[in-house]
Symmetry: C2
């Protein structure tokens, strides 16, 4: 039977299963204004997708964010969901232009938390100069999700001079990190249940797109490869590239920039900073002749002021990552075994 | 301390938290071959995003799929995740070209289930002629998710003659359904725990893109609006459009195509077919003069053989949906109140 009875009064405090029904409550969730801050011509159309004008080479990327806790020192899941995908596009040499936004909400999430997250998303999108043009909301029963998961997918315009591909990496290329490692993962771990301790460490979550585009303006194809060391940290990213290229990646422990407080916290937590996630950092593989100039450009950027050359690509040690330790020894740095930091992004 | 001990043997039967770490296990999950069937040049690059060449008007859409159960008569979550987003693009008048694919897996999912889902995704993508070019896998702890959630986002090329926008809808336009309603939701409900009953009803999940493109080739801008009545069913979609246009939408109960077995099952389950989700169906708003011809084209398609004119747009009843019942009465069909069918897509 069709339901034509008078509308029941709805709680606007808590997300319920009905908010994901595609019926009135979803509509009403819209009408509570929780999405209002995101409004633009694309979203106002309330259609199944957004219509965009695109020409030339674009990058396309996706990530689901399941970080726990939702709010952490230096950011929250909303900011992370924007910056993470913006940065994935930046790693393709692209300036992010459009994002999709999809929520999977667990029944019982306070609407105030959703509002706070959406406000963060809006702010981060503004900062990264990216438009949120299409979206989706699903609600699952209590105990079938965890507060909120967010997927963002992004489309970006690839810089005309960008030629970023692992098959361009060659022996002699230089490895440059854009800043200090391990802040994000350490900040999260420091507030996880049972591990809380006093610290001022904040996640490094930040959009990298604008800086990458300026570097491409100046250095073009001499920048051969980019990757942001998120889950699994620097060590995992280096191992992935080593695996793809079958070249050796040699890094020097003393050259890897890490804040003192982060290093101390990692020691306390039993974490190796090389494996800890970052959210506002990239590893660049740069042509040898351009390396010093590239580093200088990078250090001229606010986000790149701690940048450092950390090593080089070599034809020895094919497929392996070799660390020269502070005391002069050499050892293989492997992939992360198991899970050091679950739900870190 | 870095982990350089010999690699432990891994179970390949069950997804563990480590599979989502971004470290070895994720890498190993790749290496188990579970993703092999999806391999192509884009995914083989294993980069943070895919590089694509696009020119002109494109549609961009996203959806997260949380359907329960994962496998159901007529399909599974993998097939649904491809078709659903392909269809959202089709509703924008676009032929799907590229999809992203993101998994949120609950620890403990049998790898065999993941393999079956990925195989379904591959088959559905082939059928819809869309390429899966970028992806992501996250794993959450047991009890913090529900087996698997899938997000797909899609990019499609908009047909040059497409002019699909709710602001083009006018009084006198004709409402055409491409087929029978309510099969998907009824199929899911018929196998939900505690509700199992003997039936041969199957989900109607199917890609609509190719048919829509052929209709646009022939009818161009005389096709004014398209929407697929998924969550919330036909009634909700009509209410949304009525709300956006402030026009009246009048439909005749006797004209709405529904299979007899589905109608009987809905009666048994206490469901109104008007509110039940569909996954291979669209509602078209067509210029009056073109309506009969459009219907004929539609009926010439295998997927459109049950198509029917179900009503018209009117300047009366602004913002409302009016149903002319079989016995001649008229009543307002409202939005769905609450949740008739949670986790239906």
């Amino acid at each position: 039977m069709p339901v034509t009875c008078p509308l029941p009064a709805l709680s606007t405090d808590i997300i319920t299963l009905g908010h994901g029904s595609g019926g009135l409550l979803t509509h009403r969730l819209l009408e509570t204004g929780v999405f209002d801050i995101l409004r633009n011509d694309w979203l106002d159309q309330q259609h199944d997708g957004a219509s965009l004008e695109l020409n030339g080479r674009v990058a396309f990327s996706t990530d689901s964010y399941v970080i726990d806790p939702l709010f952490f020192p230096g950011g929250d899941i909303g900011e992370l969901a924007v910056n993470g995908t913006v940065n994935d596009l930046a790693m393709c040499g692209a300036a992010a232009r459009y994002l999709s936004l999809s929520f999977i909400i667990e029944e019982g999430l306070p609407v105030a938390d959703l509002r706070r997250i959406i406000s963060s998303i809006h702010k981060a999108a503004g900062l990264a100069q990216v438009h949120i043009v299409t979206g989706d909301t699903k609600v699952v029963e209590r105990g079938k999700g965890d507060k909120i998961f967010i997927n963002t997918s992004g489309i970006g315009s690839i810089h005309p001079q960008a030629a970023i591909h692992h098959n361009r990496i060659a022996a002699g290329d230089v490895l440059i990190l854009s800043g200090n490692i391990a802040a994000h993962g350490t900040a999260i771990m420091s507030i996880r249940k049972g591990l809380e301790f006093e610290t001022s460490i904040r996640s490094d979550t930040a959009p990298l797109g604008a800086m990458v585009i300026r570097l491409l303006d100046r250095w073009g194809s001499r920048l051969k490869f980019l990757r942001d060391p998120t889950r699994g940290g620097l060590a995992s990213v280096l191992n992935e590239i080593a695996g793809l290229t079958r070249l050796g990646f040699q890094i020097a422990e003393e050259r890897i920039p890490v804040e003192e407080e982060v290093e101390a916290a990692c020691e306390m937590l039993g974490l190796d900073p090389l494996y800890v996630a970052n959210e506002g950092l990239f590893l660049a593989v740069v042509q040898q002749e351009a390396a010093e100039g590239f580093l200088e450009s990078l250090r001229g950027e606010e986000q790149g002021r701690h940048a450092a050359i950390i090593g080089e690509v070599t034809s020895e040690y094919g497929g392996k990552v070799i660390l020269k330790s502070r005391i002069g020894g050499r050892r293989v740095v492997g992939f992360l075994i198991g899970e050091q930091l679950p739900r870190i992004c």
